[in-house]
Symmetry: C2
Subunit: 413 residues, 2 copies
């Protein structure tokens, strides 16, 4: 993409309510624009990153045997009344009436709806296990939206749901998703620490959150320092350690129950990017959802649900990867593979070389942000660093004279 | 995908309110499930088709110089009040209050919001033209939702918006989108006829609809029979003819103004799948949106907007391509490339050959629906035809004996 033609305008100032570095940087790079309190539009640069994250999540979900569906954003109140959550969920659930005065809501989560969909299509133990996921916009009417897309009202989530015949099988599905999440975050160039957590409004008796370590995180997590020594969190041996080691949110921490030696305790702040729940038959029993087992007996299916904050991940990645000059994207989710800077577009020779390189890179399926603008070299360097593309190629007069290129790694500069 | 494991359940019966063949077939193949009046969940088979259509649209939009963004589904009332459409739009616009009693709405279209986004980032004629698109869910509170996803309440649309300095430049952008739409529909294996149309709630003085010919269409279109002789609608010569030939919706038809010879008039029913509008400064003036021209003078930008009914296209394609046995997908949008049937999974030799072929096809990046179930051959044939995968490979005992395969083209059977 030629920068001269791109819908992109970097800026020095940020809105006064932006305190978080990710919020500031996303505004300064025109990744997002707030359209009303806690609601954002995604501009081309931001949407590219969001789509990359979405596609990594999709690929890993498919790899772990999940099948993609898409539920509507708007639901009717009936199923939520049956499970009691229509009132329990609280004012974060956006409720309203349609033109026929029917009670509608904007789905904040989907345990009720997916259970009802499942019910219509599966009735035998032979069809189990099943695991269905979607990547869809959700709405939670935060009383005080803040921190940009980190705590906003309309946000993109991946949510999936497992269905099993027995609690043991459901726990296997839970473990499968535990591994899936480790793999998902690693595929984005991230290290996410799993911690035991509370189940909250979803309910259930087993739950883990996945946290990106960051000073700006709003959850305190407490874990055995051994986790920090694990190189690859997705290996089978790491998985075994992570599944059994002591690692909890502050809420779940109980000194008398903590198995970590005093000197081995690590306390850090984390940003929650994923949450998995096993809740058994909580929804299948209240929504009368069962399959027939081998003997023709009705069995309420055992369920779990699993969420990843897709849009929140964009901010979490920036929080954990930036410097004073701007964002440093992990290459897996960078909006462009390469930033190409022509230092002087008025110079015909320079421009011919830059244009040719741009076309050659494009032909080789490299996604390039090509700065062909008439800005000063200083502004061009600053912009490319702010945007945070990991690999940059700079072409100036001296390079042409010396028949070489300047290649810069954003991280190492 | 192994059919034994797929979230797919074909059925013979359809709900009593399903009159349209596409509605019936989408229910029978479990592509969609109604979750409440006029609101649908997309199940794996349906979502695959929807995503294919979405990706074709995205590729062609990019090819024609449009840049992708994503606006939120929920908007505040303020901009709509400024243009007067908050009241004008009528009860199809879903309005409601958040927990702080702020007036919100679920976007039925986005002229206001996009104009406001543009305003923040573009202020010079040098940055024009610009063309921004999104593929996003919309909500229109139909008084009587019907025909499945053809006339539903929550639906997926591609909408884009052009911004130009002069009316002449804006008309070029309009023509660019006219060509883009011809190319988009052809890329899906479809023939869409452009017709002059009314502008409706969007407003403006130039507008075309794009129609898929179908007996079940609810718009009568009147056009010169010469259009039916054009082989490739996307060629430069066809474009010139289509842009100038007489072709209108019934509403726009005026006998005294019709230039078609009586014998050359074709009257057919069409399903509207696209609509393009040029409306000049209607929104930029009411929302005070301008750029500075060469002389530093404020110029209200000239705009057009362009829509494609993404989810509706799934139904429109089925309406125009099916037979008594089921759907016949154009290969461009088929949920799978190949349907593979193992006629007898109990036969080990047959199963080994089928399994190997399935893996080989997958390795060659073919997306295969592999019927490995224990259903009867008759049911397997019927299911594969119902689902409508264009190419089928059938493996039975006789094939193994004769060392061959049976290949079936769904269309020619």
């Amino acid at each position: 993409m030629r920068k001269s033609n791109y819908f992109l305008k970097t800026r020095k100032e940020t809105p006064s309510d932006a305190t978080l570095i990710s919020h500031k940087l996303m505004i300064r790079t025109s990744m997002i624009k707030q359209t009303t309190s806690g609601i954002y539009a995604w501009l081309p640069l931001g949407l590219k990153v969001l789509k990359k994250i979405e596609n990594i999540i999709r690929d890993v979900q498919n790899l772990f045997g999940c099948q993609e569906i898409l539920m509507p954003t708007i639901q009717q109140s009936d199923l939520w009344k049956k499970t009691g959550r229509y009132n329990d969920y609280g004012p974060e659930m956006l409720k309203f009436l349609d033109r026929n005065k029917k009670e509608l809501l904007y789905g904040p989560t989907n345990e009720e709806l997916i259970t009802n969909i499942f019910k219509d299509y599966v009735n035998s133990y032979k069809d189990l296990p099943k695991n269905l996921y979607q990547i869809q916009w959700k709405f939670r009417d935060e009383i005080r939206p803040r921190f940009g897309i980190m705590r906003c009202r309309e946000f993109l989530m991946k949510d999936n749901y497992s269905f099993d015949l027995t609690a043991d099988a459901a726990k296997k599905s839970y473990d499968n998703m535990f591994k899936c999440y480790l793999k998902t975050f690693q595929s984005m160039g991230l290290r996410a620490i799993p911690v035991k957590a509370d189940s909250g409004a979803i309910g259930g008796d087993m739950s883990h959150e996945f946290h990106i370590i960051s000073e700006s995180g709003d959850t305190k997590i407490i874990y055995d320092k051994k986790i920090d020594t694990l190189k690859d969190l997705t290996s089978e041996s790491s998985y075994k350690i992570l599944r059994n080691i002591h690692s909890v949110t502050e809420e779940k921490y109980d000194e008398s129950d903590c198995s970590i030696k005093k000197n081995d305790i690590v306390i850090k702040k984390g940003i929650e990017v994923g949450h998995i729940f096993f809740f058994g038959t909580k929804y299948s029993s209240s929504l009368n959802t069962y399959v027939l087992d081998k003997n023709g007996k009705k069995i309420n299916v055992e369920m779990g649900s699993y969420g990843i904050g897709v849009s929140r991940l964009v901010a979490a990645i920036i929080e954990s990867s930036h410097d004073k000059d701007g964002i440093i994207w992990p290459k897996e989710v960078s909006p462009f593979d390469i930033g190409l800077i022509n230092l002087n577009p008025k110079d015909k020779k320079l421009t011919k070389i830059s244009d040719n390189l741009y076309l050659t890179l494009k032909k080789n399926n490299k996604d390039v942000l090509y700065d062909d603008t008439f800005e000063s070299p200083g502004n061009k360097f600053a912009d490319m660093d702010l945007i945070g593309i990991p690999n940059q190629i700079i072409i100036g007069k001296r390079n042409v004279e010396n028949n070489n290129l300047e290649i810069k790694n954003r991280k190492k500069k």
